[in-house]
Amino acid sequence: MITLSSDAIDPGALLNGFCAGRAATGAVASFTGLVRDEGGEARALELEAYAGFAETAISKAADAAAARFDLQDVLIVHRLGRVEVGEAVVFVACAAAHRRAALEACDHLMDYLKSRAPFWKKSHGPGGARWIEPTDTDLADARRWDQETT
């Protein structure tokens, strides 16, 4: 399930809901992205999405990951609007029969969300606001998965 919302993310409640009632699942991997203070340089992130397009694109990515890693279930919750330091900006959980698949799928989906999903983020700090673009590492991380499918 994909949720984009300006409501606060509760990673624990999401994880427990995701784990509930799974007799065939051995492995649940999760990733929680928190807003860092960057040593005092950041106070909050501001997240913008291309509404409609983002849900469709992320759903496609989740379906592709489910097929590729043989997942039993995927949950992606992404925050929109202003997110303060220490709050969760993204939560991803993947369920699989075995642990490697669940962990790799989280890794893959986070790489996707970091540089290929239609989000834009601004960092607000004491010195003003600036847009954050994907780093070279983010772009290289996402390309790893392209290479593996060829």
């Binding site: 291309y50 409609g52 847009w131 673009e133």
Partner: protein, 80 residues
């Protein structure tokens, strides 16, 4: 009439996020028209990594806009 959407720093540069326009025949002519009205936006639109989505489909190069209801310009994406 169709919607033209700007995201991220493109919206900051232009001072608008959404406009209703009668679209010109092609994506290239739309870029040219926006650049003619606002050279700073024109420069931002031709910056590295800026993509266009035509009716929510990412589009490389030029594209015909006949019958299209939404064109979005997307700077480099970064979530999470």
């Amino acid at each position: 009439m169709a919607k033209v959407l700007l995201f991220g720093r493109l919206a900051d540069v232009a001072g608008w996020r959404e406009r209703e326009l009668v679209l010109p025949p092609s994506l290239t002519s739309l870029r040219d028209r926006l650049a003619g009205e606002d050279p700073a936006l024109g420069a931002a639109l031709s910056g590295p990594g800026v993509q266009a989505a035509v009716d929510q489909v990412l589009t490389r190069g030029d594209a015909a806009l006949a019958g299209v209801s939404e064109v979005a310009f997307l700077p480099p994406m970064s979530g999470g």
